[in-house]
């Protein structure tokens, strides 16, 4: 199968002006990936699915990654797609899409119209990471309940302190229980 760099060359030739970068994986698995810009992502995905050489008809895995801001790197949310070909029996080709930031520009185009298997998995990324997928037919929370706020798989997620619980006799747990009870206006337990 073609390497990520070769696929990138063909994509740049087929989609002039589209943003496609190779993200090198330094580990022993050496599964490099292609970072797509938002403008042509849907068209590129359709090209990869229908291209007679690649025939990436099977989108196996869709997931999110949270990258909070660090020195020299602005924060973003990333969506990773693992593509394989059932017709040609090769893969993976890995696609990535990144949001502009982690606060209010958190949209990347949905690939559910290209591969149906993204339907539930993009809903899960929406639910747990807060990435919005314009073009998704049914974007709702899937694992958490509808009234839930926040996105648990983000790195800066803080557990809510709103449940009933019985503190166990560990120092940190008791300290948390005291904070919780003070905030809830309850006296310390017996």
């Amino acid at each position: 199968m073609e390497s990520a760099a070769q696929i990138r060359e063909r994509l740049v030739a087929a989609f002039p002006g589209a943003s496609v970068e190779v993200v090198v994986n330094p580990g022993p698995a050496a599964q490099d990936s292609l970072l797509l810009g938002p403008d042509r992502a849907r068209a590129i995905a359709e090209f990869l699915r229908d291209d007679p050489v690649l025939r990436l008809d099977f989108c196996s895995n869709v997931t999110g990654v949270d990258w909070p801001a660090r020195e020299a790197r602005p924060g973003c949310l990333e969506v990773v797609y693992h593509l394989y070909s059932m017709a040609r029996k090769h893969g993976p080709v890995i696609l990535r899409q990144r949001t502009a930031d982690r606060a209010d520009q958190v949209s990347v185009p949905s690939l559910t119209p290209v591969w149906r298997s993204c339907e539930f998995q993009e809903r899960e990324v929406f639910d747990l990471f807060g990435v919005v997928f314009p073009g998704h037919p049914d974007l709702r929370r899937i694992l958490m309940w509808d009234g839930f706020k926040d996105h648990p798989l983000r790195k800066d997620y803080v557990e809510p302190d709103d449940y009933e619980w019985e503190p166990t006799a560990h120092g940190e747990v008791l300290a948390k229980a005291r904070r919780h009870q003070a905030a809830a206006g309850e006296g310390p337990g017996p």
Binding site: P26, G27, F58, S60, N61, V65, M86, R116, E119, L153
Partner: protein, 389 residues
């Protein structure tokens, strides 16, 4: 006559589809589950019915959600291994293997030959027990109360005895490690496994005599829940469900992970993609598994079961990422790991086959009666520990 949904349900009304010009009544929304015996756990289907016919069906997930992935990011690589047992709790051995494979490809570790053979043996035993249980549950869902399920559980118990004598636990085996396996097979274990495998064909014959030609089973499953191959591929359906739709895609052949290229076996395919094919493909897969097990039990060499250079405690992987996947009994189970060089994975993702196989549940059920949804769901083979994670 009005086609609007019943005022009893204040939820936004379903999109109404006229089924016939004359004989139609109000649509009825039925919430099947989360506490319903046919859902195999806490799973809910919001079904909209016209008479008994399903016109809309939306699955509702999350009753067993505990954010497995967040917990995996908060613990060491080794610490997640016992937790993978709890994903698909019928198939802990294959979950362990998929996770071990992902970590091995993240770190570039090798696995000794004997451990590879043990992994194949355990994975195929897991496939036997999973498919046997599935057939039992499917018949239970058809209303054959007791007998088929108890026959299945009798055989499953024999396999669980083998797992227990090897790993110390029947279901939560926590047996595989990155770089090999945790313990070697005790004396006599391989002989006991060979005896069980030798008798399994006879059990399948008996089971099939009871079921395969059974008129009621055929009436309930043939032509029910037909899955076209193109939809199966697009929806990412994997495992026996995909092969029942006629798509030749088995990761044991395609990826050739472990030592599977050393074994001879065939990949059974269905011709219709209906529920009966899904049952039949699993039965045929069990027969192939018996063949693989006999070859593996004959060929297993002596030797170490762990890579001597492997470190389990204090394991750190070089920065990078890896996606490892295997052919689990329910489909492709994969783990996606990103390492930043620390003791914990930066990102730990499970690709749950039964969750993704549920994508097409509504497509399969539309137009069938509500009783058929129970059979269709049973043939998809889900475990909620894995669906909700």
């Amino acid at each position: 006559m009005s086609l609007s949904p019943s005022p009893l349900f204040s939820a936004p009304g379903p999109q109404v589809r006229a089924v016939s010009d004359e004989f139609h009544g109000d649509l009825l929304e039925v919430s099947m589950g989360p506490h319903h015996p046919s859902t195999h756990g806490v799973f809910r289907m919001m079904a909209t019915l016209d008479g008994e016919t399903v016109v809309k069906l939306k699955p509702v997930f999350g009753y067993l959600h505990r954010n497995h992935e967040k917990i995996g990011e908060g613990t060491s690589y080794l610490g997640s291994m016992p937790y993978t047992d709890r994903l698909d709790y019928l198939c802990s051995m294959t979950n362990n293997w998929a996770y071990a494979l992902a970590v091995e490809s993240l770190s570039g570790q090798a696995v000794p030959e004997r451990a590879q053979y043990l992994r194949v043996i355990l994975a195929e035993l897991t496939r036997l027990l999973n498919h046997t249980c599935l057939a039992g549950f499917l018949l239970q869902d058809c209303g054959a109360s007791g007998t088929p399920l108890m026959y299945a559980f009798r055989e499953r118990e024999k396999i669980l005895d083998l797992f227990e004598s090897l790993s110390g636990s029947r279901m939560m085996c926590n047996y595989q490690r990155f770089g090999g396996c945790r313990t070697d097979a005790p004396p006599g274990w391989l002989e006991a496994a060979a005896a069980l495998v030798g008798g399994y064909g006879a059990f399948l014959d008996e089971y099939e005599a009871l079921l395969t030609g059974n008129e009621i089973l055929m009436a309930r499953t043939q032509g029910v829940g037909r899955l076209p191959a193109a939809l199966a591929i697009s929806a990412g359906v994997t495992g026996p469900m995909l092969r029942a739709a006629g798509v030749d895609y088995d990761l044991r052949k395609v990826d050739g992970y472990g030592f599977y290229p050393r074994f001879e076996f065939r990949v059974p395919l269905g011709a219709h993609g209906d529920t009966y094919d899904r049952y039949m493909v699993r039965v045929l897969e069990m027969r192939e598994s018996i063949g693989i097990l006999q070859q593996a039990l004959r060929g297993i060499p002596a030797g170490p079961i762990m890579d001597p250079k492997a470190r389990l405690r204090g394991f750190r992987a070089k920065p990078g990422e890896a996606y490892g996947r295997i052919e689990g009994p329910k489909g492709e189970i994969g783990f996606f790991l990103i390492s930043e060089g620390g003791p914990n994975p930066y990102r730990y993702r499970v690709r749950p086959p039964s969750f993704i196989n549920l994508t097409i549940l509504e497509d399969l059920c539309l137009g069938h009666s509500i009783a058929d949804t129970v059979v269709i769901l049973g043939s998809i083979d889900i475990v909620l520990g894995e669906v909700d994670r």
